[in-house]
């Protein structure tokens, strides 16, 4: 039996930014739609809140075109995201 659990949503957002640098909020949502689109938490407000939180913690940075990329600290924290889909 395989046990294929999704990542927590905030994990998925940061991993998505790591895999797709210079993503903006719309492209991030597009990429995550297949996995999380059916969940109540999948909305612009929640994703924006998670992005603000990740930026405040210094894990991601936002350029003047409102695109996000990982910081050096963010890369270090990816060690916690090592499993599952």
């Amino acid at each position: 039996m395989t046990f294929n659990m999704k990542l927590p949503f905030k994990f998925a957002i940061i991993r998505n930014i790591a895999e797709n640098p210079a993503s903006n909020i719309n492209t991030i949502m597009e990429k995550l739609k297949d996995d999380y689109g059916s969940e109540g938490q999948f909305n612009l407000k929640m994703v924006s809140m998670h992005l603000d939180s990740l930026r405040t913690s210094g894990l991601i940075q936002e350029d003047t075109n409102y695109c996000y990329s990982l910081t050096a600290t963010g890369h270090l924290r990816l060690k916690y995201i090592t499993h599952q889909k």
Partner: protein, 330 residues
């Protein structure tokens, strides 16, 4: 190199951190109300039973409080479409770290707090535990590389002095033979709460604060129920409290407490540990306000002076919005 934000982005960052400050202030207000309501529940049966050892009632109260708070928070997360996030997060390393933080800030801190009161007295224990925001700030500077200005430090220390003034009651005559052991016990919650804040903030970099606090309260409840209650013989009191009027009061108190904890966690995540902890200890001030309206608390000059000192300290901590642009040296 970190890109320089545009003025519009700067405004957005500051607005976000200011919202965190508001959460911090509200966490203090709700914690003040929580303390007053829990105090009311503790004056009811079965907690007033004369056969109970002095530490049983507060520990049973804390167990019920955290369990019901976990229930309220689960309802909140389910209603906002985050029910599955609880289990998903628990299966990750940060989720397990939250469980460890829960042990430090929950049963361990509470037990140390009560034993401190028993052996060293309320005055010394309250005074020692009131310094937890200063210790939390030091830990945050070391482990999270949080920036704390000199003015913010003065504000934090002012808040702590205000809490001393509000909470101080002259020590009872005579010194317990275990006085110094009591002082050591009082250090446990001081270290426990400050470490809980810093560790939880570290993991909330990756976890949703609403989920982190849900896991925290559930873990705390499970440890109280499976380890602390059998140890102190509290299971019978726990069961009878659940069915008594005091249980209903604690259900309401847990709602207030879960809002307070949720806001505290959100504030630490959004505006930094130092500011959030300083705003959280304004509960001493709010305890006076709610105590005045809901109980027979008499306003004394000491209480009013303490409240003014806390307000000044809190204002010093939040005074400069520009500091909110870069919370950490990363």
């Amino acid at each position: 190199m970190t890109p320089t934000p545009t003025p519009a982005q700067e405004q957005k960052i500051i607005a976000y951190a200011k919202r965190g400050l508001l959460y911090g202030a509200l966490s203090g207000a709700f914690w003040g109300l929580d303390g007053v309501l829990l105090g009311i529940a503790m004056t009811m049966l079965p907690f007033t039973s004369p056969e109970l050892a002095i530490y049983v009632a507060p520990l049973v109260g804390a167990c019920l409080h955290d369990g019901l708070a976990a229930l309220w928070l689960s309802l909140l997360n389910l209603s906002t479409g985050r029910g599955r996030e609880i289990f998903r997060s628990l299966m990750t390393k940060p989720g397990l770290i939250v469980c460890f933080a829960a042990l430090l800030g929950g049963p361990l801190a509470m037990s140390g707090y009560l034993l401190g009161i028993q052996f060293a007295g309320t005055a010394y224990t309250l005074s020692i535990t009131a310094i937890y925001p200063a210790l939390g700030t030091i830990f945050a500077m070391i482990f999270l590389k949080e920036r704390v200005s000199l003015r913010a430090w003065i504000g934090i220390i002012t808040c702590i002095i205000g809490s001393f003034v509000v909470g101080y009651t002259p020590p009872e005559g005579g010194v317990s033979p275990h006085f110094y052991m009591g002082i050591l016990f009082a250090l446990i919650p001081t270290i426990g709460w400050s470490l809980e804040g810093v560790i939880s903030t570290y993991v909330m970099d990756l976890l949703d604060p609403s989920i982190a606090i849900n896991i925290r309260q559930a873990t705390s409840f499970v440890v109280y129920l499976l380890a602390v209650m059998p140890l102190i013989g509290g299971l019978i009191v726990f069961k009878s409290a659940l069915l008594a009027t005091s249980g209903a009061v604690i259900l309401l108190t847990a709602l207030v407490g879960s809002i307070s904890y949720l806001f505290w966690y959100k504030a630490m995540n959004m505006t930094g540990v130092a500011r959030a902890m300083c705003l959280n200890i304004t509960y001493a001030l709010w305890g006076i306000v709610f105590g005045y309206f809901l109980t027979d608390l008499k306003l004394t000059p000491t209480l009013i002076i303490g409240a003014i000192i806390i307000t000044i300290g809190a204002l010093l901590v939040v005074a400069n919005p520009k500091e909110l642009l870069n919370l950490r040296k990363v």
